[in-house]
């Protein structure tokens, strides 16, 4: 956090999907996967987004990268506006291509993230050649260099994805992102599919790379144990919206929003003799196409009051540097 300049600014981001089978009568129902999310990421920091499956965190990551068309809101990267749906602004094709070089992504499933028909040299060189990162003659050496940064040998260049283990494939995925020289990387649950010991190796690699190449991460995960240590700031997402944001350590030590409290209480104990008070949430998560009126968490909240059913709370500063979307604060 040496430099406090904003690298990425997301405001009012929305991504809706039409629900299938409702087009004919009564218009389209929309599944609100991401529903009005705003935040900014400082240069050189790691911003974590946690939430349960289906809360929209992955969709959010992809929408920021313009991998899917946004339904609303705007994203600014440095001084460039990637898109602003309300302002009807969109980045030009050439500019977008330039920005692609600077923003990269690491994927959750290393099986599906690598083209099975390409050897590793092709996987890595594709972006390198496209963005002319290095001159034609030295592409191979450059790729080998990037691989070695990610802890793989040069001989891996001529092998195919299926010949590697999950951890190694994830290293290749990181190498591919790194090869074009990005400044900002969206990491979509990069370690879920891995064993604990391999997970540690990959996370350490990412920390090393961040320090050596001054990267900035947006780290999407549902593993609270990892996010707590890996990230500087955390946002907790529920039904497409942030319900709490704040410093990672403080948020995990003393969660403010009832949902965050429940989520943290559900993390398994580390030792059999540890005593932990559990908060069990009632019912199940509502559908994204049928978000409750008022506070979207009130159907499962222990503290729900009359006001929560009517009025939707916005993120407000509940403690210094900590924001929660709850009427309690």
């Amino acid at each position: 956090m040496e430099e406090q300049s904003t690298l990425l600014k997301v405001s009012g981001l929305k991504k809706y999907f039409p629900v299938k089978g409702t087009q004919i009568i009564g218009g389209k129902r929309m599944l609100k996967a991401v529903d009005d999310v705003s935040f900014s990421v400082e240069k050189g920091s790691i911003m974590g987004v946690i939430g349960e499956s289906g809360c929209g965190k992955s969709t959010m990551g992809r929408t920021i990268l313009k991998l899917t068309e946004p339904s609303g809101g705007s994203v600014r990267y440095k001084d460039k506006i990637l898109f602003d749906v309300e302002g009807r602004q969109e980045i030009g094709k050439k500019e977008l291509l330039k920005t692609r070089k600077e923003i990269q992504m690491i994927f959750q499933d290393s099986y599906s993230a690598l083209d099975p028909r390409q050897n590793i040299l092709k996987v890595l060189s594709e972006g390198v050649v496209k963005h002319k990162v290095t001159d034609k003659g030295s592409v191979k050496d450059y790729c080998a260099h990037i691989l070695s940064l990610c802890g793989l040998e040069e001989s891996a260049l001529y092998r195919f994805p299926h010949e590697f283990s999950g951890g190694q494939r994830q290293r290749i995925g990181i190498a591919r992102a790194l090869a074009v020289g990005p400044e900002f990387i969206v990491c979509d649950e990069p370690t879920v599919a891995l064993d604990v010991s391999v997970q540690s190796q990959i996370l350490n690699l990412m920390l090393d790379l961040k320090e050596n190449m001054s990267l900035t991460y947006l780290f999407i995960s549902h593993n609270i144990g990892v996010v707590k240590h890996f990230c500087d700031k955390i946002a907790v997402m529920y039904l497409g919206r942030f319900v709490e944001t704040g410093n990672a350590y403080e948020l995990c030590r003393e969660p403010l929003h009832p949902y965050t409290q429940a989520l943290l209480s559900a993390v398994p104990i580390t030792n059999p003799w540890e005593k932990k008070k559990r908060i069990y949430l009632e019912g199940s998560i509502p559908e994204g196409s049928d978000i409750p009126k008022g506070c979207r968490f009130h159907t499962r909240c222990r503290h729900a009051q009359e006001r929560c059913r009517i009025e939707e709370p916005g993120l407000s500063e509940a403690a210094p540097g900590r924001f929660a979307a709850c009427h309690l604060y």
């Binding site: 349960e52 499956s53 010949e163 590697f164 283990s165 999950g166 951890g167 190694q168 064993d195 604990v196 010991s197 391999v198 997970q199 540690s200 190796q201 996370l203 350490n204 920390l207 549902h222 593993n223 609270i224 144990g225 990892v226 707590k228 240590h229 429940a262 989520l263 209480s265 559900a266 993390v267 398994p268 104990i269 580390t270 030792n271 059999p272 003799w273 540890e274 559990r278 069990y280 949430l281 019912g283 199940s284 998560i285």
Partner: protein, 283 residues
């Protein structure tokens, strides 16, 4: 009392380039009414052990030696017909992915009724028993759930149904193969609580297969660590967490993300990652 005793079990798979030994000379026992957790990384042979107890190994796998004694009887030698009556009734299994464990074209009711039909001749009171069973799951509207199809339910709800079915006939042993891996933390906590409650109610022993030390800490009375198809260490749970002996176990416990000091801790013996997950090939 020893309910299940496994003696020198070896299982291998036939692959293109020879045989892979998934389980090597494994011995352990499961006490009545207790929960034994088998821990290990992917490829350590923990799931294969579970499948051999149920005798539902894939066709390219074969048990090369050893015995699986259930109530003193070697179930590896039992006839398939007899095994069918053991499965589900005396030993039942919970799988990792609840969505694929249920038949998508059956309603929940039919799903469960099928189980009763299979193991019991008389079909009276089935409906009442099923409602009772679902009542124990802390589901708000059990009647409503009975009419639904699996795809209409969330992953957590499906896993609850699967667990209810596993416990339905009050089996002696429940084998749970990574029952919460596919679920979110909050659902995981609920499922583990349910698993605990039901096993206490029915007195079933649980063989819990997992790679998550947190789940082990929550559930297990005893812990066995597997590596490379072999037993590395087996201990009472508390003793296991307090005084792990084997270097591999120590590494496994230290590698948890909670133990962060600027960097995440990796296994002390930095194994080269081998694709086969450490299983050895012989040709």
């Amino acid at each position: 009392m020893e309910l299940l005793k496994i003696k020198n079990l070896s299982v291998s798979f036939k692959v293109a380039c020879g045989r892979v030994h998934a389980v090597n000379d494994l011995s352990f026992s499961l006490q009545k009414g207790k929960c034994l957790a088998i821990v290990g990384e992917s490829g350590s042979g923990k799931s294969v052990t579970a499948l051999s107890i149920m005798r539902i190994l894939e066709t390219n796998a074969s048990v090369d030696g050893g015995q699986i004694l259930f109530e003193g009887r070697n179930i590896l030698a039992v006839k398939e017909k007899e095994m069918q009556s053991i499965r589900g009734k005396q030993i039942s299994m919970i799988f990792q992915d609840p969505m694929t464990a249920l038949n998508p074209s059956y309603t929940v009711y039919r799903q469960i009724a099928e189980l009763y039909k299979l193991h019991r001749k008389a079909a009276e009171n089935v409906k009442q028993e099923i409602t009772e069973l679902l009542g124990r799951l802390h589901i708000p509207n059990p009647e409503l759930i009975l009419k639904k199809y699996p795809f209409e339910l969330s992953g957590g709800m499906c896993q609850r149904i699967v667990i209810a079915m596993a416990f339905a006939l009050k089996p002696d042993i429940i084998i749970a193969d990574e029952p919460t891996t596919a679920l979110d933390v909050s659902t995981q906590a609920e499922i583990l609580k349910l698993l605990k409650e039901l096993s206490e109610d029915t007195g079933s022993a649980v063989l819990l297969i997992t790679h998550d030390m947190g789940v082990v800490a929550e559930m297990a009375d005893e812990v066995m660590v597997m590596y490379n198809g072999r037993r590395v260490e087996k201990k009472e749970a508390e003793e296991f967490f307090r005084n792990p002996e084997h270097p591999y176990t120590k590494g496994l416990l230290r590698a948890r993300p909670e133990n962060f000091n600027g960097r995440f801790i990796t296994m002390s013996d930095e194994r080269g990652e081998i694709k086969s997950g450490g299983t050895k090939y012989t040709s």
